[in-house]
């Protein structure tokens, strides 16, 4: 362990830094896409007409009910062998990861948003409609902003999870933090040091995300929607 510091600075950190960039490129779009999918599907599950509601329910059931690893394998290894007529989808490993993470994360967000929507009193929607709003206007401007505030701590939690399960990208050849770490550990046979630092990278990412999410939450805070009440 005498050359711990030189090993870390010369080999581990440069490698993990390039992995960090790859990881961020997966996490950030997945977080946004997941949130959008979650808000839409959560809203559909509460307010949409029967067929759309059922499709959204099925989406959540499938993506919450199967392991993420299996989903990622499906997008990367199985989808290229699936064709409808001449039509076939082949996606790069990175795209597969973003699609997989967004859909999985969206299914969980959907649950929080749905809970948030159900917690809003029906009078809110009624009052919007009484003023001549159509249901979509009333949902978008009245119910969703409130539901989102109530759901936000759950959604934050899901984004934190996403940061950690983004490491699954490494199993489909992506050199994210975990992928790079595994390469370094294999080459150097120094598993302990390498994975220790890999862990610290994720811890730093999660801490940073926590700070950002907390700021957003504070910014959205208004009287009547304080955290204690939610």
């Amino acid at each position: 362990m005498s050359d711990f510091i030189p090993f870390i600075t010369a080999q581990v950190i440069p490698g993990l830094n390039s992995g960090l960039i790859v990881s961020i490129k997966l996490i950030v779009p997945s977080a946004f896409l997941g949130l959008i999918i979650g808000v839409l599907s959560g809203t559909f599950r509460v307010y949409a007409p029967f067929p759309i509601r059922k499709i959204s329910d099925a989406y959540v059931a499938i993506f919450r009910g199967t392991p993420l690893v299996v989903q990622i394998y499906f997008w990367y290894f199985a989808l290229p062998y699936t064709s409808i007529g001449e039509f076939r989808i082949v996606m790069s490993a990175e795209t597969c990861a973003i699609v997989g993470f967004s859909l999985c994360s969206g299914a969980y967000h959907s649950e929080y948003i749905r809970g948030g929507l159900l917690s809003i009193k029906s009078g809110q929607l009624l009052a919007g409609q009484a003023l001549g709003m159509n249901p979509i206007t009333a949902i978008r401007n009245i119910v969703l902003p409130q539901a989102f505030r109530n759901a936000f701590s759950g959604c934050s939690n899901e984004i934190i999870y996403l940061i950690k399960y983004s490491s699954i990208a490494s199993i489909i050849t992506i050199n994210d933090i975990t992928g790079m770490g595994r390469g370094i550990a294999k080459e150097s046979w120094r598993n302990v040091e390498t994975y220790l630092v890999v862990g610290i990278y994720y811890l730093a990412l999660v801490t940073l995300a926590n700070v950002i999410l907390y700021r957003i939450e504070k910014k959205m805070e208004i009287p009547g929607f304080e955290k204690e009440q939610a």
């Binding site: 009193k121 809110q124 009052a127 003023l131 001549g132 159509n134 401007n141 409130q146 505030r149 009547g224």
Partner: protein, 253 residues
């Protein structure tokens, strides 16, 4: 003198949860009319009010706004009618995530497509009208019940409604907050606003209303001027009912 009918319901029938809540109710509001709906709870007063701005779609009967029948199946006609028929709820139903000012301006922006500035200006005028100049930027959680109900009245007025429907506007208020809302309603009456109000504030509404409409079991059983129905020698069901309320509240009917 020619009277102009603003809103008229003919033979409204409404079923809710397997019960027929309204069994053929007809009522007409002329411009400037103030009518008061009274009757025991469960008699269909709220349902009638919600049918009148089509928050409930009646199963039977017709609704005429400015003498033109409204097609219940046409969504845009529904939205149009609701803009012209304001609704005040017992539970206020202020938008909890918006300040008093935004509560009033949001429908101007999203329904009437007014600009942010124009809508904000109108909101300020309406909030001043109900005496809330100093509370414009407060959120519902920071307002008292009476203030909330006044914001909701300002919110309805900003849409320039032709009729205002009030569903027990003071029933959810602490006794000492009732009068501030009643003062606003009295001002509206003075300015000629057409109103239909369900309420248990008998003496207040007797002084204000042109007509008392008594509902029981989903139909209108009596109607007439408060003077007639509450006269010394009258034997109306309305009078019995009002006497009972007076007994409970200690109010002189």
């Amino acid at each position: 003198m020619e009277t102009q009918t603003v809103l008229e319901a003919r033979n409204i029938i409404k079923n809710l949860g397997g019960n027929t809540v309204l069994r053929g109710v007809s009522i007409a509001l002329n411009k400037g009319d103030i009518k008061v709906l009274i009757g025991p709870s469960g008699s269909g007063k709220s349902t009638l009010l919600q049918c009148l701005n089509l928050l409930h779609i009646p199963e039977g009967g017709s609704l005429l706004l400015d003498n033109k029948p409204v097609n219940f199946k046409n969504k845009s006609e529904l939205y149009q009618l609701r803009q012209k028929v304001g609704m005040i709820f017992q539970e206020f139903n202020l938008f909890d995530h918006l300040s008093a000012k935004e509560n009033v301006s949001i429908s101007l922006r999203k329904v009437k497509k007014q600009g942010r500035k124009e809508a904000a200006k109108r909101a300020e005028i309406e909030l001043q009208r109900v005496g809330l100049d100093d509370k414009m930027n407060l959120y519902p959680a920071q307002l008292s019940g009476g203030q909330k109900q006044r914001v909701s009245i300002a919110r309805a007025l900003a849409m320039d409604p032709e009729v205002l429907l009030l569903d027990e506007p003071t029933s959810a208020l602490d006794p000492e907050l009732i009068s501030e809302v009643l003062v606003v309603i009295r001002d509206l009456a003075k300015n000629g606003m057409t109103m239909l109000m369900a309420t248990h504030q008998i003496s207040f509404s007797a002084a204000l209303a042109h007509e008392f409409v008594f509902m029981e079991d989903g139909i209108i059983t009596e109607h007439g001027s408060p003077k007639e129905l509450l006269a010394e020698n009258a034997t109306s069901r309305t009078k019995d009912f009002c006497a009972k309320i007076a007994e409970l509240t200690g109010e002189q009917a």
